[in-house]
């Protein structure tokens, strides 16, 4: 072998694997590299339109701090490490799904509507606790007994919206981003009667 060739080859291999391979391996799906930035202000918006919007997220992934998803009914980035926004996976988290499904704006003092493309990578400024306490101009609290579809039940750690109220066993089907292993979906839940949860509402629906 030519003198120095072997040393150079090992060096080049090491540099590439260490410089590129380490981060690539850690964030392997890179789903968010396909996200877009599409949004527009809109008015009026109905609860039914909001439910149609949220439905697209059902059966997609969950990403802590995330905000973009497609509509192939498949978690494109399963098994990411939890509580790490830099895993760049598919899906919203619970508060991000609520923010986008309620067509809210990032300006917390502005209560009006903004359509965010499902593939727009935005989470919004609110946590689950913010929804629980009615933080932000568009958001208020409401008695759980008075909630209707596309209102939400929020605790300090989770928020989900009412997809269909009052099943035969008297649960509510909730549309929510649940957990990394769960993804997002429309599951029957018992949040209404759970003292951890409060009723939350977005104002100004057109119907």
């Amino acid at each position: 072998m030519r003198p120095g060739l072997w040393t150079g080859l090992v060096g080049g291999l090491a540099v590439v694997l260490l410089a590129i391979g380490t981060p690539a391996g850690a964030y392997h799906t890179r789903f968010q590299s396909t996200c877009t930035s599409g949004y527009f202000n809109d008015n009026p918006v109905t609860r039914a339109e909001a439910r149609n919007y949220a439905y697209v997220a059902a059966a997609e992934g969950y990403q802590w701090g995330g905000g973009c998803w497609n509509d192939n009914n498949w978690d494109d980035s399963p098994g990411d490490p939890t509580e790490d926004p830099y895993t760049n996976g598919e899906g919203p988290d619970c508060s991000g799904l609520t923010f986008k499904s309620w067509w809210e704006r990032s300006e917390t003092g502005d209560p009006w509507f903004r359509y965010h493309s499902a593939m727009q990578n935005t989470h919004g400024p609110y946590t689950a606790a913010d929804f629980k306490y009615g933080t932000g101009a568009p958001n208020v609290t409401v008695a759980k007994a008075n909630t209707v579809y596309m209102d939400a039940f929020a605790s300090t750690y989770h928020v989900g919206m009412i997809y269909w109220a009052n099943t035969a066993f008297n649960q509510d089907r909730i549309i929510e981003a649940k957990c990394e292993a769960c993804g997002s979906g429309t599951w029957p839940r018992t949040y209404r009667g759970n003292p951890d949860y409060s009723g939350a509402r977005r104002l100004y629906w057109a119907g």
Binding site: A143, A168, C182
Partner: protein, 449 residues
Amino acid sequence: MKKTWRWPLAGFLLGGLLGATILTVNVVGASGPNAPPARVASFGEILHTPPLLVRVGKAVNLSFGVVCGIVGDNPGGRCTPRGAVLVRAAGEAGFRKLPLEPEPGGLLSAVVPASKASRGFDYYASIENGRGQSSMLPEAGSAAPQHVWPLETWTTVDVGAPRFGEFRPPSSVVAHFGWGRGDGAIGLDSGREQSRIGPSAFDVAPDGSIVVLDQVNHRLVRLRSGRKPAHLPIDFAGGEGDLAVGGDGTIYVLEISGQPLLRSFSPAGASISAGPLAEPVADMVRAGPSGPVVHAYPSEMWLPTGEGRPPLTATEQLRAAQPARSADGGLGVVVHASAAEVDLALVREDRVLRAWILRGPASFGEVQLAEPYGDGLVVVVRLWDERDAEFRVLHLVPGGVASSFTVAPGEWAEAASLSRFRLHGDTLYQLRSGRSGAAIATYEIGGKR
């Protein structure tokens, strides 16, 4: 000079190229661990709560919601659903069409007149969404329709005011686990902006042992009196599920995340079969007299998945769907609850054998359990207000309530929504949780608190 750097540089470039090739093959390959299914334009979903139990002499309102989804970032491309509900009164041969009329709030509804409803009826909806797509609910249409039973007589039970905080202590605590991964622990999936998810479900096997679904740790935990917990590793892909143990000891595990899937395992934990459910959402699996049945949505029917291997196909499940949960002795258990009242019945085919209507000053929550017991039922139902909650346990007999008591919710961590309780013999078991861990508590049925 040239001779000293030319070959190391060539080697460095070659090594870099080799590294890039390795990363391309491995990382890009890893980015698609499973190919997603081909995208197909879907109808969306018909939403409906079946009335199931209706007082004789009353007309029945059937309401349906329709969710279409948003296509191509065009929120203005609204769906304009229309359709009909097809109704067959008891004793009639064919279905008659009732057009669905739009209601405020986007619902579609039709009224079945009292004269048609008085002997009970079958029905299914057929809806087109205005985008050229149509669907039926239940999906098998006339082959397995939804059913409404007429209530001619029933026993009204006033459950009284809630007793928040005045809970009956358990008769025993069979097992307690701290949170974690070890032999004495059970899994907790929690974090910021996320539900706290503990063990999803449990059941009591015919031999009295308890099987807990520790899905966070991908295992079953079998508890036998006087022995250390035995751990049985299982395949479990999702975050939550349900579990039932059959009369022969077969363990059925329902995965509810993503497309629901029912797996079965031998009592020793060996995999027997796995098959997808015919509907997109499910919350309960129960062991029926003819094998496992799964409560599925949007139909709210009980889908048998079959005892055999392989399990029933999706079409077979839909065509065998039942509106009542099958119980021993040819009985069916029917539940329809709202905040104002809980309607319960034991039925045999189209006939109501016994019925109860629960009322009270507090709001009712979900019906956690309704199991045949003697000539009545044992029922566990949530009572709640905006700040508190309790579970009320009721032993219903033909004349009313034989006994009742109140149980603490113990729901610090989430379990499957309707799998916190199981009845085995005269003992009620509860899966409860707190900051320190999860436990299985027992209560003996009988006697007033």
